[in-house]
């Protein structure tokens, strides 16, 4: 009897002691009866200690600010609890949290595969247009007509390229 062991979730006396080997790494956890059941440890199918550990709510480190994604409101606590992100912008916001998870999970941490060149070039030309439109409006407001003419020509150029479909096929 390992009477001195405490449940790693709630501090009750731990009666369930579990060891799993995943990807050559040993994961050990001690749990009380209630938490073991809650976490589905007793379910012999599909229970993964690694999953549970990566999703277990970590006690917030004092002084660590709760990060939140400005685009979707997802918080670092949400990521720790569910293991999921809220939107594509979350990957930048929670970069330091996501990165260590990836190291354990995948063959590498850098993308080596397909790149959506068409969508990316369209997105970047869209951004470029937006910026130029802003600059044009500002130039007009400031009566800097020479600059305005320059911006207008650039906008025209991008629009023509876009219509000709050139931007859709050219690599980024």
């Amino acid at each position: 009897m390992a009477e001195n062991l405490k449940c790693s979730i709630c501090d009750q006396e731990a009666t369930v002691h579990l060891t799993q080997i995943v990807n050559n790494k040993i994961h050990k956890v001690d749990l009380c009866e209630t938490c073991a059941q809650k976490k589905g440890v007793t379910d012999p199918e599909g229970f993964s200690l690694a999953d549970m550990m990566s999703k277990a709510p970590l006690s917030p480190v004092s002084g660590e600010a709760q990060l939140a994604c400005p685009s979707c409101g997802h918080e670092s606590g949400d990521f720790r609890r569910t293991g999921r992100l809220g939107c594509s912008a979350c990957y930048e916001v929670f970069r330091t949290l996501v990165f260590p998870v990836l190291e354990d999970m995948h063959a590498g941490t850098a993308h080596q595969g397909k790149v959506p060149t068409v969508a990316l070039s369209r997105q970047s030309s869209h951004m470029q247009l937006k910026q130029l439109m802003g600059s044009l409006a500002r130039a007009v407001a400031e009566e800097a007509y020479e600059d305005a003419a320059k911006f207008r020509d650039q906008i025209k150029e991008i629009k023509e390229l876009k219509e000709a479909g050139a931007l859709e096929v050219s690599p980024k």
Binding site: G73, H74, Q112
Partner: protein, 362 residues
């Protein structure tokens, strides 16, 4: 709503006469994709989900690959219809349980289905009978590139395609091959195979039930990792593992044949007898017996032309399909009777087992 799908005489999995192969039933690849500037489905509210659903359905419908395809809003489908689509691997269980604003687009021929607002905005899947990783990749890659022309996908240079769960990050690619492994199961080697391949980042799951004694001896083998390797590297390493599994399976079969010849012939013969004459049969039993009939085709005891019938019956013996065919809500007991009726009818059309063919193989 799904009648035309069920009765389609050219559906890939149920009518693939020429392409099915020994050991490998089918090859599937799915890609996870998301839209820029929209919260992932779980984070999104109903309005945002509906907006994504409508936009994606419109764009998908415009693709040539979806010509004459069908779109279903999951909310419009009955529980039974959803179950039939799950049994055909056209949608996932998660999609069935999803909130409002989920849907699926399925092409004519049922080789392609795109789930909208499952875990990710888009889950694109292509499927073919037999062992076809390369050609399925070509199809899905073309489709994905086509879609990208009209949809702004979420992508970062470092992390690749951005997904709701980091487990799918990078390529967003999961390739699954459905394998029929009676030799490894009967010889008690399945446990060892599962452990060995999991060391290589490959997952094995029973198609019907978990563990190493899945009914029907059918297993789904797929890559687990999606980041840090290119699509072709992922597919190549999966293919290498699968080729080894196929070799082991064939060896196990011939060893079993050599050592327990009478027993094997008896099991195949009895399976045929029961399927041809039973009047009440549960789906587990049907699957296990059909496994021996598929083995009979592999050994040449039934014509190759009947392989597709066996693969079709594996799907049509599942609870949802039996119930759907009965056109009314029937109790499990009546379902077992309906299943037996169908199997008897189908088996009466099959030629007798040619046990001599097995002699020739020695």
């Amino acid at each position: 709503m799904i009648e035309s799908l069920i009765n389609d005489e050219r559906a890939e999995l149920t009518q693939a006469v020429k392409k099915a192969a020994p050991v490998v039933l089918s090859t599937r690849i799915r890609l996870a994709r998301n839209l820029v500037g929209q919260p992932f489905p779980e984070r999104a509210d109903v309005l945002q989900r509906r907006e994504v659903l409508t936009r994606c359905a419109d764009q998908l419908g415009a693709l040539p690959q979806m010509n004459k395809g069908s779109f279903f809003d999951i909310a419009d489908l009955s529980v039974l219809e959803k179950q039939v689509l799950v049994e055909r691997h056209l949608i996932s269980r998660e999609l069935c349980d999803g909130e409002a604003g989920t849907g699926v687009y399925i092409n004519k021929g049922q080789t392609c289905s795109v789930m909208i607002n499952e875990e990710d905005h888009l889950r694109i899947q292509f499927l073919k009978a037999g062992f076809n990783l390369k050609s399925v990749w070509k199809l899905i890659d073309t489709f994905d590139s086509e879609l990208e022309k009209t949809i702004d996908v979420a992508f970062s240079e470092d992390f690749g395609y951005l997904t709701a769960c980091p487990t799918n990050l990078g390529t967003g690619l999961r390739a699954s091959v459905m394998m029929h492994l009676p030799g490894l199961v009967i010889s008690g080697q399945m446990e060892r195979v599962i452990r060995a391949v999991s060391q290589l980042g490959i997952t094995v799951r029973g198609l019907f039930g978990e563990g190493s004694d899945a009914s029907g001896h059918i297993f789904q083998i797929s890559n687990q990792q999606t980041l840090g390797q290119s699509e072709s590297e992922i597919l190549e390493s999966l293919a290498n593992v699968l080729k080894t599994v196929i070799d082991h399976e064939l060896n196990a079969r011939f060893k079993y044949l050599e050592e327990s010849r009478a027993k094997l012939l008896d099991q195949i013969g009895r399976a045929f007898g029961v399927l041809k004459n039973a009047h009440v049969i549960a789906s587990d039993e049907a699957l296990n017996l059909l496994s021996f009939i598929r083995l009979a085709v592999d050994f040449g005891m039934l014509p190759e032309a009947n392989r597709a019938d066996v693969d079709r019956l594996v799907i049509e013996s599942q609870p949802g399909h039996v119930q759907y065919a009965a056109q009314e809500g029937i109790a499990p007991d009546a379902r077992d009777i309906a299943r037996a009726d169908k199997l008897r009818k189908e088996f009466s059309n099959l030629p007798a087992l040619d046990f001599d063919k097995l002699q020739d193989q020695e």
